[in-house]
Symmetry: C2
Subunit: 547 residues, 2 copies
């Protein structure tokens, strides 16, 4: 298009969007607010800004240059937060190592990302030492310690301990301008087949994700999650999609922040009470763990707003948290999307509903965020209607989507087919904009020529009071193509498959599901197989059920 672009002054500064600009807001508004680690250490924003600069100088001293990749293996910590800034502000790339992968997969990702320096918590030193010989690109390691004597690491070249290395450095570092499209972060998404795939995000993408999140979670009355006076504690691993990007937003807001280290359910509940945490985010599994632990049973959670994502939030679990006083919101996104795509927003009418009726909106996937263009598409690529009943694959355009899979040319073209990112999720969109994820395309059960959502069935089964957890998968069936099989963890030993089938009859009678949606096969188990990030592992379930 013949739009007009004017040539400005020769010296005009075009202002590339860089993470250092988020950092420039740290302490600008509330310099005395604190960043706290496990209740054991506490740093003001003023200290934080000095430490990030010390870390940057320490990284430079360790040989890190622009374009290098620096890996971190840590629990959620103030140190990890410091790395979120120092590494990319040097023009280097922060590799968030998923420490829940198998050792072979961890090594695969570190070689694939070509990590040069690795910061590793004492808890992961044995793993790192075991892998060291297989990682030719790694030139050195920095120890992250919570105290105590570290295990022996005969195979690793350890440059020093984090705090000692910081202490040697000046707390002033000039961070240069560079291209806003430079890669800032990378991490790996684990499908159920094939090798982990590397996604990556640029400075521009992270700045846009952050400033949008600062507005989205604070300025809308229907979504009052994170403001400058919030006390924020992530319960999503920082290696998992930037802890949903919230740490960057929290720094920009100068919030009080609590980093819980390794997740110990009773400690998490204690931290929430002690610091009056009012905002967290996690996957349903973690919420369940938190409510189910000893302190979870005896502690009220009034004033705690919890944003749930990663997989569908069962109504039963949502209800249990609300009964404890927690305020429930849902969000939707994935590793490829930085991640924010949709989030619960209750409009004026919805906010006026009784809590019980709000539950429906709070457990749907929310509405598209600002700057997110979301639609559902039929297999042909034709947009499906946003009428609440038509279903299609969710495709998106936003400013913060991975532009590809690193060194995976075929897979990245599939991801971006037709110029929109394909999420692999099947959903309907309601006329008021609420997105209702029905299933993963690959988990949809194709039975008798119809699509049956495994997630919808899981939700209905979970509403039985004696069901603690449930997974539904499609299994091959000669007559129908596939049939649903349910795997159930009972909270009451007397629960039987028949009870569940009977429970489902009410939804058949109300017309909510068809008669043929009720599974013939229901297996009671002690535990549902999970992936490294706590999601139901349907691949393993199918293999188990196939026996």
């Amino acid at each position: 298009m013949p739009v007009k672009i004017l040539q400005g002054a020769e010296n005009a500064h075009a202002y590339p969007l860089l993470i250092k600009q988020i950092f420039a807001s740290a302490g600008r508004f509330e310099p005395d607010n604190q960043i706290i680690y496990r209740g054991e250490q506490s740093f003001s924003y003023s200290e934080f800004t000095r430490r990030v600069q010390q870390l940057a100088n320490a990284l430079k001293a360790a040989g890190v240059e622009a374009g290098d990749t620096v890996a971190v293996m840590d629990w959620d910590s103030h140190r990890y937060l410091e790395c979120y800034f120092a590494v990319p502000m040097l023009g280097a790339i922060l590799h968030h190592v998923n420490i829940r992968l198998s050792p072979e997969q961890v090594a695969y990702t570190m070689n694939h990302a070509e990590d040069k320096l690795v910061l590793v918590h004492d808890d992961f030193l044995p793993l790192a030492d075991q892998l060291a010989a297989q990682l030719p690109t790694v030139q050195g390691y920095i120890r992250l310690s919570d105290g105590g004597t570290p295990p022996a690491t005969p195979n690793m070249s350890v440059l020093g301990e984090y705090e000692s290395l910081l202490a040697e450095q000046s707390s002033e570092c000039d961070f240069p301008d560079f291209d806003e499209n430079s890669v800032a972060t990378t991490f790996y998404t684990t499908g159920t087949t094939g090798n982990p795939k590397g996604v990556y995000f640029s400075h521009r993408q992270l700045v846009l994700h952050t400033i949008n999140m600062v507005g989205m979670l604070g300025s809308y009355e229907g979504l009052p999650l994170l403001r400058s006076n919030s006390v924020y504690m992530p319960i999503t691993p920082m290696f998992h999609v930037h802890a949903w990007g919230v740490p960057y937003a929290a720094v920009m807001l100068n919030c009080t922040q609590i980093y819980p280290g390794r997740y110990e359910p009773n400690l998490l509940v204690d931290l929430i009470k002690q610091y009056k945490v009012d905002f967290s985010h996690c996957v349903p599994t973690i919420l369940q763990m938190l409510l189910g632990c000893e302190k979870g049973h005896t502690t009220r959670l009034d004033g705690w707003k919890i944003l749930i994502g990663g997989s569908a939030l069962p109504k039963g679990l949502a209800k249990a948290a609300m009964d404890k006083g927690a305020d429930i919101y849902s969000a939707y996104g994935m590793s490829e999307t930085c991640p924010l795509l949709t989030v619960t927003h209750l409009n004026k009418e919805q906010r006026a509903l009784p809590a019980e009726e709000q539950l429906k909106y709070r457990t749907l996937t929310g509405v598209a965020s600002n700057l997110v263009d979301l639609r559902i598409e039929e297999p042909s690529g034709k947009p499906a209607a946003h009428n609440g009943s038509d279903v299609g694959e969710v495709t998106v355009q936003t400013p913060w989507l991975t532009q590809g899979y690193h060194k995976e040319p075929a897979k990245q073209e599939e991801l971006w087919e037709g110029g929109r990112l394909h999420t692999g999720d099947v959903a309907s969109v309601h006329p008021d904009g609420f997105v209702e994820i029905k299933d993963r395309i690959k988990d949809v059960i194709k039975t008798g020529g119809e699509w049956l959502s495994s997630i919808e069935l899981e939700d209905l089964i979970s509403q039985h009071p004696d069901v603690a957890a449930v997974a539904v998968v499609g299994m091959p069936d000669e007559k129908w193509g596939e049939r649903p099989h349910a795997m159930v963890v009972a909270s009451n030993n007397e629960l039987s498959a028949g009870d569940i089938q009977q429970h489902l009859q009410q939804f058949v009678e109300s017309g909510h599901i068809s008669k043929w949606a009720v599974p013939e096969h229901i297996t009671l188990v002690d535990e549902i197989p999970k992936t490294s990030v706590g999601k139901i592992n349907k691949k393993v379930i199918r293999a188990t059920l196939a026996g």
Copy 2:
């Protein structure tokens, strides 16, 4: 720097930042909220989105193409807001015509911008008709009418009336993607010498300004001005620096919005009361006019937050507004800066102060916004210390600064000297980040080898209870170089020059100003000369005093 930039999928969508993405949020959250014109017309966000698309189709039918310039001459209206979106979303450029300039200057700007189509309110038809023959680039006019018979326009080619043209069009329009650096808006800044200078802003700049403002004014407890449930009414002309960019943010937030048309003080007060307006912004002159009108005298303004900018806010005026119940904040920016640079943010300690003590912070210019890199520079370009006492010229880098003056190569290089935008304002910056504008560089009074701030003197004089308005300028003096001269409007006929000098003695005695800062020359007048945008016109004052 050898940063890493990865090549993504061939079809990956890079998501240029375009105004259509702000528009996509209109009605996404609160579709039933209203956009109201003078209390006479009201449109839901759903209607607004349809009308903008009708307008875009009408503009296309009128021959508007990408790269063309479309001018608007209107008061603050829903129609102007519709133009804020429809024109740039077509790839065309919206020229905000400053209708307060002299006819010759208006013609100059319209020729300089090469306006092709002009939307003009009935009130400005006589002016437009008078100028028509001098505007060779203009191919047609669209009438904006509040009803009634328009004056005759023998020289203009009027294509039709706005509402009739919209009614003919479909309410669906596909807005294309294009380069985010395309010019979206242009308008003219009026110095006191030379021709008006054209500044311009791209889609990228306006999107960044908007999403930053949505977070800045809503998510910080020290600055709770604009959230989705706000009722917003601008009292800054929409032709003046995008009405400070707030209309774009208000649309993104789906706020209730009141557009007051031509400013009539009693109507403004009525609208504030009728619609429970809780956020407005204006220059001090307008605030004074509003407080001083008949209804202003008799009406409480509790719950009304007012953001003041454009020129320094005298403490006396701030106090008068606060006594009425209004909540006062200050901001700083200029035509070249889109405009947001700084805004009042009260941190936890400052919020705990009594109202009287908060006044100091509320009348300073505030702290730098997120994404704004602000510093003060000595004449050599060396940064001055942010210690509250050193002064220097304010220079900035942000993502939303005009990259030049259109067709003014020399002036734009001066503006961007050294890669930072030079504001021409002299300030000190306090250790807590508060910026205290001392003066325009050209208005600083150089007396006896010292710099004396004309604004500071104005502020002190305004604190005399019988002073209604004041201006101070430097006048040539044989002995001292320059000496301050004050021009004063008294609210009490008995006020004399001696009273003011005596009033200033207290500040000499407290050490706040030097003895030599007290003006020998104080002239009592009926009115202070103002520029077209309501600022004190020091050029005219100097000419008058030189007599």
